[in-house]
Symmetry: C3
Subunit: 665 residues, 3 copies
C-alpha cells in the first residue's frame, strides 16, 4: 500500500438521477481517494442470461481515474439476479427452514453448480474487462460471504463423505460422537440421516464446521479466478465480518476467518459499532485486532459507518475519533458504507456520508478534515506494526460447541470473549488473536483463553508446555472440557490443563446470589458478582485467589493461580462482573510483567501504539468520552501530528471530548 | 333511515335449543328493533353442494316481521363450508406462510373462481329469496372483508399485469422502485419474482395496495349482485372494521375504506373498545368520525360490544354512555354483537347481551333503558349533521410504508394518528377524516397530517396551496419524506412541504433522554418527552416553537410554525408525550381561530354536537369518568332530553359518573 | 415387592470405555440394588433391519446378577433407529407442524403399522431373550410415552370413525360441538375436515382425547406382548411423567394416566423438581400422590434427579431428604436418572450420580448413606399404606378445555390444581387424586375440585349427592361450566353444582385491583389478592365467606359456603393469592373435621404418615428449609429409625436443615 486509503462504497447503479461528476467533485473535496464498486449489482451488469452491460462500471472507472481516485472492484456474486432464480429455482439454498425464497441477498447455495457456472462467467467477464484499467488497485471477491445455512440433499451428501474421511469408520464415528445415545447410532453409511433435525451437538457441530469449510473453499475458488487476471500491484481481498448483534460483536460463527483469509493478499473487514453516548472504541479495536491477526499484517476497513442508523448518527468529533482509531489498530484503509443514502428498499435508513438530498451535512463536513489529515500524514501513519505480548485464543469450534451447550442465562461464547477482551482494552493492553492450532505460542508472554470448550488434546498439551516454559495463561471456566468432537473428557476437569492449573472440579452449578471473597478484592467489590456459571473447584497445587461467597459452596475455589514450571496458569471458574474481571486480569498482567506506564491510564483514555515504516514509535491517545481529559504524557518527547507541535515528556496533555492526539517519537 | 335502529346480531342457527319466540319477547322488552342474520352460516344454508336450506332464515324473518323487528340479511360468504374445501382445497388462500388450512373463517382466496362461483350462487339464492320479505330493510355483503394475505401464483400473475399497467415499462418500474439495489432488478416481465419474499419496501407496498384493490373489487362485485335484488327503501352496506389491537385502534391496513365504501348505500362499521376503568370514548369517536367521513353522511354501527370479554363487562351506566356516544358521532344504528353468548367454539367468551343462561342480567337490563330512549327520542336524534372545520389526513399508503420502514421503538402509523387524534378528542375538537387525494381542502380551516410518509407530489402541492390561501396545516415528522412508490425525495426535506413549512433537515436521530425547550411549555412540562423519532430541523423562514433539550442536538429546532401566504404551516419534527402534543395542538387550534367555549371543557367531559333533521342544534355532554362532574352550561338554553327538563344558559349541569346529557336548543 | 429398591438407569452402550466391573463395584458401595437398562438403544440392539445384537444386554444382566443387583429391562421402542427412518420415512409422525424430522426420540407415529411391526419384533426378541434371566425382576414398556401430536391422514381417518362411534349422527355431532358456528358444520362424513386447523375447541378437545386414547392403546398393546413372556414374580410397568415446565408440574396433558395405567402391574413415574433453595418437596408429594392413586397402591419412582442440572445440584442433605420423601408418599423404589453423566449429545448437562469423570463426588457419597439406610430399614418402610380422607378431583378433559379457553393472564389448569394442592401440602393434609368418573366418592370426607370446566352431568350430580349425604366439597371457579363436549351449560351457573353450592352467577370479569373482604381474613390479608378470574356470584342459600373488595363489584360474593343436606359445598369464584387460598382451605378442612395435630405444624415442617406391612404407624418429619427446626412431637412415643432412638410423646424434636426423622409407633 503506497498511501492511506480513505474511501466509500459507490453505487452509480442506485442513483435516482445523473450524479457522477458532482459526486466526484464532492469526494475530492472530502479527500476520498478510493471507491469500491460493482458488488451486489449482478442484475444490472447481466440483465439477462448471457447479456452483459458493464457501462456503469466503465464510466465510473474512467471518471474516477480522471479524478485520481482509485477503485476496488467487487465481484457481484452475493446477490443473484431474478432471471437466474426464475430459470433455476434450486440455486436458492435449502436450509433447515426449507426451500429459500427470492428477495434478499445471500440466499443461494454456494455449492450449486448452476450458481457457480454463472458466477464464474460474470467474474471472468467483469474482472477480465477491468483488470487493465489504471484506476483499479484491487478486487474484493463476493461480500460478507457465509454459507447461508445451506443444507440440501447435495450438501448432505458431501457432508457424509466428509464425515467418512474424517472418522474413517462408523464405529469410530459412533463412538466419538456418542451416537448410541437416543438410538442415533448409524450402522451403515446409507442410513446417515439428514443432519438438520439432529439433537446431537457433536454431529451438529461437525456440520457447522463443514459449512464453514464450504465458505473457505468458495472464497478460494473465487480468489483463484480473480488471480488469473490480477496485475502486479493489485490485490485481492474479502470483506469479512463479525457476529452481528446489531453491530460487530465478536467471532464470526459462520466463517473460519483464519482459514478463509489464506487465499487473499490482504484481509478486509466490516466494522460497525454503537455510537453517540455508547461509543467506546471497543469494536474498532476488537475488529482491528482480529483482522490484523489473520494475516499478521495490516488490513483494510472496507466498510464502516458514516451516518448510518438514527441511533448512530455521530456526535461532532466522533467520525474523526473513529477514523484514527482504525489506523491505530493497524488499518491502512478506512472506507464508509456508503457514499450516498439509498432512496428505496431495505437499507434506506442505513445512511451514507451524504443524506438522501446529496447536500453537504455535518458528517460530510467532518469527513473533509479526516481526508485532509489522512493525505497529509499518510507516510507517518501507514503500515503501523505491532509487537504484542498478549494473545487471545479463540476458535469457531468452541463457539459452535457453546451454541449447542448453552450457558444458563443466555450468555454465549462471544460474551465470554468480550468479557475478557473488553477489560484488556480498558487497561490499554493491546493483543493479537490466535487459533488453538497456532504453533508458536512462545511469541507471547501471556495468553488469554476464553471458554475453550471444544479443542484437541494437542492444543491443550501445547498450552501446558507454554506455561511450563515460562509463559502465563489465563483460562476461563469451561476451557478444556470437551474434545474437538465435543465429547466431554473423562479425565479430571479442566481436561488436560488441570495439570498446569493445579486444580480439579467434579461439580458445577448455576450461581444465584453468589459473590467472591479473597485478598484480591476490595471490601464489597466482588459481592453478588458471579453469574451464568460456576465450577466448584478444589485446588491440588494452586493458590486460591478467590473463594465463592455462598452459604453452601463457600469452601470451593472460584479463581486460582498455579506456578507451573517457569510460568503460571490462572483459572477463573465462574463468570463475573466486568469489575471483577478487571481486577483478576490486572493481577495476571502484573504477574506476567506487562504492566507499564500506559496501563496507568485507563478507559476512557485509550492508548494504541506501534512502529511506522520509518521505525518511529507512533502513539495514539484517544478520549472516548464527552468530557475533556488531561493526562501527563509519560513517554519521551515527540511531535504531535494533528496540532503539529512538540509534546515533551511529562507535559500535561489535554484532549477535548471525543478527541485524539498522535505523537511520533 | 326513518328511525334510530337499536339492534343485535342474531344466530338462530347457533341456538342449543328452540328459543325464537322467547328471544323475540326479550328483544321487544329491550327495545331491539332490528336484527342482523345469516352472515357466517353458509354450511347451514347450503349443507351440501347445490342443496339449499333457508328454513332458519325464513322462520326468523317471519317471526321478526310479526313482532315488528326489522332484519338486515348478510351474505354468508366470509366463512366457507366444509364440503367446498374438501372438493376444492385450493379455494383456500395461499399466503406467504404457505397453503391455508380449513378451520377459521376468512381463509379463502377472494379471487378464486371456484369460490366466486359458489359465492355468487348462494348470494343469489338467499337474497333472491328474502328481498321481497317485508321484514328486510337492508343487506350486508360478506363481513369484515379483507384479502387474507392471498398471494398464490394466480394473484401474483394479476399483480404483474397490474404493475405493467401502473409503470408501463420495466425501466420505469426498476427506477421508481429502486430495484437495482441488491440485484433485484427485473429485466424481463417473465422474470418477475414472487413478491412474498421481497425485501424491497416499494415493491411490497405496491403488492399491499394491489391486495387492497382486490378487496374493493370483491365488495363491489358482491354489492352489484345484491343490487339486482334490492327493493326501493332497502340499503346495501358493508361491515368495515379497523386495525385490531384487541380493540378498534385505527386505520384498517388491509382495506382502503375510502375506495371500498363507494359501492355501498351507507357505511357500516364494527367498533370495539376498552371498557371499565379504561373506557374513554375515543374509539367510539374515532371509529365514528372515520366511518362518517367515508360517504360524508350518517352510518351504522353494525357491531359493538354488549358484555363482550371478561375485561370489558361494562360498569353500570357504561352501556348507555356508549350508545349515546355513537349517536353523537352521527350513527343512526347501534347494534350489539350479539344477542346471546355462544356455547361452543372460538368466541364463547365474547359475550352478548345475554349470558349463556339466556336470563336477564344487569347489562341486558341497562339495554332496556337505552331501547326506550332511542324509541322516544328517535326523531330528535336521528340523522345528526356535522359541519367540522378540522380534518385529519390519513392514508393506507403511508401506513403500509411505515410498516416497511418502522419507527425505532415500535410505534406505528396508527400510533402517530392516535397521538394526534386523541388530543383533539380530549379538547372537544370534532373532525373529519380525508385522504390525500381529497380535492376540496378549502372545506376546512385546519388540516392535521400525521406521518404522511408516502404520498404523491400533487397532494403535497395541494397542501402548500391550502396554506397559501389561508388554511392551517399541522404536520408530524416523516411527512412528505417519500414518493407514493416510497422512493425518498431527493429534494430538501420535508419533501415539497418544506416550502410552506419554512424549514429543512438533513439528519434525524433516535431520541434518548431528549426533552423540548421553548416558550410554549411550562417549567418541566416537556422534559424527557421526546421518543421514537427526531428530525434535526433548521428553520429557513419558520419561527421555532421548541428546540430540543439535549447536549448535542440543542441547536436544532423540534417544532416550528411558518406563516405562508395567508395561512400557516406547523411542523412537529419528533414524537412527544401526549401532554406536549396537547400543548402544541392547542396553540395551533387557537391560531386557526377554532378555540371556542366547548374547548374550555376537556376530557373526561366530552362534548359532541350537530344539527338534527329539524335543524335544531343538538349537544351531547358525556362524563367519561367514575366521578360526578359539574359544568356551567355555556350555550343558549335548551331542553335536556333524558331528564326532560329545561337547561338554562349558565346553569350548573351535574353529570353522574359515566353519565350523559343531551340538550336540544 | 420384597424390599425397597434403590436404583439407577444404566447405559453400558453409552460408555466411552469399558466400565462395567468398576461401575458395579461403585454401585454396590452405594447400596444400589436395581438398574434399569435397554430403553432408548434400539439402534445398538438392532443395528440393521433384522440384525440383532444383545451383547450389551447379556453382559450387563450376567454381571448384575453376579453382583446381586436386580435389573428392569425396558423395551427400546421410544427412539427409532436410523435405518428404519431411512427405509420408511413415514414412520415419523406428521403433526400440525408438518412431516417430522429424524433426530430426537419420540418422533414416530405410534399408530404406524411399519413402526408397530418393527417394534413388536424387537420387543419379542429382547424380552424373549431376557425373561428367564434370574437378574430380571420386571419390565418397562417404552418410556414416557405420548402421542407426539401425531395427526396425519391415517390418524385423521381413525378419528372420524371414532367421532362417528361417539356421536352416532352428524346432527348430534354438529349440535354438541356447535359446528354451525363460522360455517364449520359437517353435513356429510366425507366432508370431515382435517382437525389440525380447527378453531372449534370442542372438536379440538375431542381430538386431544382421541390422541390420548392412542397412547392408552399403544401401551396396552406393548404390555400384552411383554405379558406373554413375563415370569411369576416379575412385573410390567410404565414410566409415566407429568406436565413439564422444566420440572414435573402437574397433570400430564398428553396421557390419561388413569386409563393408561390399567394395563400395568404397578405404576412407575418420573419425578423431577427444583432444588437448592427452591426445594420444597411439593413435586415429590404431588407426583407421589398422583401415581399412588393410579392403581391405589404403592409405586416406583423410576427416574428422579441425582446431580441433574447446574441449578439443581443438591445441597448437602437434600438427596437424602428427597429419597425419604419419596418413600413417605408410598414409593417402593427410588431410582436416579442416571448412573453416569453422558459425554455427548442432548443431555450432557443432565448429570447422573457420577460426573463425567466417574470419580466419587459429594452427591455419590451422600447416596451411599441412603443405600445403607434403605437396606437396613426396608422391612419397616416398604409398602406404606395410606388412608386419606381428602381427594382432589382432576381430569385431562378439564385441562384440555382450559387450554382452548384460557384464563386471562396465562394461568392454566395445572396452575389451579397447584394453587389448591400446594396449600394442602403446606398444612400437612395428605390426599389422593381421583377422576370425575370415580364412583366411590364416599371413600372421602372432603373433595377438592379445581376448575372442573368440562365434565359430564353425571359426575356433577354425583358430587351433589356426595354433599347431600354428608360430604364436603370445595370447588374453584369455572367448575361445572361446560359439558364434556365443552358446550357451555345453558342452566344457571355453576352448572348443576349451583344446587349444592346455593349460588348463581351470570357475569364474570377479569380482576384488576381487586381484593376480598370478609370475616375469614385478617386486616389487609386479602387486599389485592384476586387475579386471573372472578365470577360475580349471587348467593341463593349460601353463606358468603367473602365479597369482592372493588368499587363496582363489591356487592357480589367471591367465596361462599352452603349447607346442603348433611354436608357442605364451598365455592371459590376467583383465583387468589396462596395466602388467601390457605385461609379458605383451612376453614373448609376444619369444617370437615379433618384438622388434627399434624396440621398445627406447617411447611417447612412436612409430615407424612401411613401404616407399614406390620400395621405399625410410620411417621415422617421433614425439614424443608436451610434452618434447623424444632417441634414438640405430638403423637404417642415411638422409635426413630435413622438416629435409632426412642422419641417420647411431647418430646422436643430438633431437625437439622434439610433433615428427616422417621418414627415408628
Amino acid at each position: 500500500m503506497k498511501k492511506l486509503l480513505y474511501g466509500v462504497a459507490y453505487y452509480d447503479e442506485y442513483m435516482p438521477h445523473e450524479r457522477l461528476e458532482e459526486d466526484i467533485r464532492m469526494m475530492k473535496e472530502a479527500g476520498i481517494n478510493v471507491v469500491r464498486i460493482a458488488e451486489s449489482t449482478w442484475s444490472t451488469h447481466e440483465p439477462q442470461n448471457g447479456v452483459f452491460d458493464f457501462s456503469s462500471v466503465d464510466r465510473v472507472l474512467d471518471a474516477m481515474h480522471q479524478a485520481g481516485i482509485h477503485v476496488i472492484v467487487g465481484t457481484p456474486t452475493y446477490a443473484v439476479p431474478t432471471w437466474m432464480v426464475k430459470e433455476h429455482p434450486n440455486v436458492l439454498a435449502e436450509t433447515a427452514k426449507g426451500q429459500g425464497r427470492y428477495g434478499a441477498r445471500q440466499i443461494m447455495d454456494i455449492t450449486n453448480p448452476t450458481y457457480l457456472f454463472y458466477a464464474e462467467r460474470i467474474i471472468r467477464k467483469l474482472i477480465g474487462r477491468v483488470s487493465n484499467h489504471p484506476a483499479v488497485i484491487g478486487y474484493q471477491t463476493d461480500n460478507e460471504t457465509k454459507h447461508y445455512d445451506t443444507a440440501g440433499s447435495n450438501v448432505q451428501l458431501q457432508f457424509v463423505k466428509y464425515m467418512r474421511e474424517t472418522y474413517t469408520t462408523l464405529d469410530n464415528l459412533n463412538k466419538e460422537l456418542g451416537l448410541d445415545y437416543w438410538s442415533n447410532r448409524i450402522n451403515s453409511w446409507e442410513d446417515f440421516p439428514s443432519v438438520v433435525g439432529t439433537i446431537n451437538g457433536s454431529l451438529g457441530a461437525e456440520f457447522a464446521k463443514f459449512q464453514r469449510k464450504l465458505v473457505t473453499e468458495f472464497l478460494a475458488w473465487q480468489a483463484a479466478i480473480v488471480n488469473e487476471y490480477k496485475r502486479p500491484g493489485q490485490f485481492v481481498t474479502q470483506n469479512f465480518d463479525f457476529e452481528w448483534r446489531g453491530y460487530s460483536y465478536g467471532v464470526q460463527p459462520s466463517v473460519d476467518h483464519f482459514a478463509a483469509s489464506a487465499a487473499f493478499d490482504i484481509a478486509g473487514v466490516d466494522i460497525y459499532h454503537p455510537s453517540q453516548d455508547e461509543l467506546t472504541g471497543i469494536e474498532i479495536s476488537l475488529g482491528g485486532d482480529m483482522t490484523r491477526s489473520l494475516k499478521r499484517s495490516n488490513y483494510l476497513v472496507i466498510e464502516t459507518q458514516a451516518q448510518a442508523f438514527p441511533n448512530w448518527t455521530p456526535y461532532p468529533g466522533q467520525l474523526r475519533l473513529q477514523a484514527f482509531s482504525h489506523l491505530a489498530s493497524g488499518a491502512n484503509m478506512v472506507a464508509y458504507w456508503h457514499w450516498h443514502s439509498i432512496h428505496n428498499s431495505f437499507e434506506t435508513y442505513w445512511k451514507g456520508l451524504l443524506s438522501h438530498d446529496f447536500k453537504p451535512n455535518p458528517v460530510y463536513n467532518e469527513a473533509k478534515t479526516i481526508g485532509r489529515d489522512f493525505d497529509r500524514l499518510s507516510n507517518q501513519l501507514i503500515d503501523l506494526r505491532k509487537n504484542n505480548r498478549v494473545a487471545i485464543m479463540v476458535s469457531n469450534e468452541a463457539l459452535t460447541a457453546l451454541e449447542w451447550f448453552k450457558l444458563p442465562g443466555g450468555k454465549t461464547y462471544n460474551d465470554v470473549v468480550r468479557w475478557m477482551y473488553d477489560e484488556l482494552y480498558k487497561m490499554n493492553i493491546e493483543c493479537d488473536f490466535i487459533h488453538p492450532s497456532y504453533a508458536r505460542l512462545e511469541d507471547y508472554e501471556l495468553i488469554v483463553v476464553p471458554a475453550l470448550y471444544a479443542v484437541t488434546d494437542e492444543a491443550l498439551v501445547r498450552l501446558n508446555a507454554f506455561a511450563l516454559n515460562g509463559g502465563h495463561v489465563i483460562y476461563s471456566f469451561k476451557s478444556g472440557f470437551a474434545s474437538e468432537a465435543i465429547k466431554v473428557r473423562t479425565t479430571d476437569q479442566p481436561g488436560i490443563i488441570h495439570e498446569a492449573c493445579g486444580i480439579t472440579y467434579r461439580m458445577f452449578v448455576e450461581p444465584k446470589n453468589v459473590g467472591l471473597k479473597g485478598d484480591l478484592f476490595r471490601e464489597g467489590e466482588a459481592a453478588d458478582s458471579v453469574h451464568s456459571w460456576m465450577e466448584l473447584i478444589t485446588p491440588t497445587t494452586a493458590e486460591v485467589l478467590a473463594h465463592y461467597d455462598h452459604p453452601q459452596w463457600g469452601d470451593y475455589a472460584a479463581v486460582t493461580q498455579n506456578r507451573y514450571g517457569k510460568g503460571t496458569a490462572t483459572y477463573i471458574g465462574c463468570m463475573t462482573s466486568s469489575t471483577v474481571m478487571n481486577t483478576i486480569l490486572k493481577a495476571a498482567v502484573q504477574e506476567a510483567g506487562l504492566w507499564g506506564i500506559d496501563q496507568e491510564l485507563a478507559f476512557p483514555v485509550i492508548v494504541k501504539s506501534g512502529m511506522n515504516r520509518e521505525d518511529q514509535a507512533v502513539r495514539y491517545y484517544f478520549n472516548y468520552s464527552d468530557k475533556p481529559v488531561s493526562l501527563t504524557y509519560p513517554h519521551v518527547s515527540g511531535q504531535e501530528l494533528l496540532e503539529e507541535r512538540l509534546i515533551k515528556s511529562g507535559e500535561q496533555l489535554l484532549i477535548e471530548p471525543w478527541g485524539v492526539r498522535i505523537i511520533v517519537e
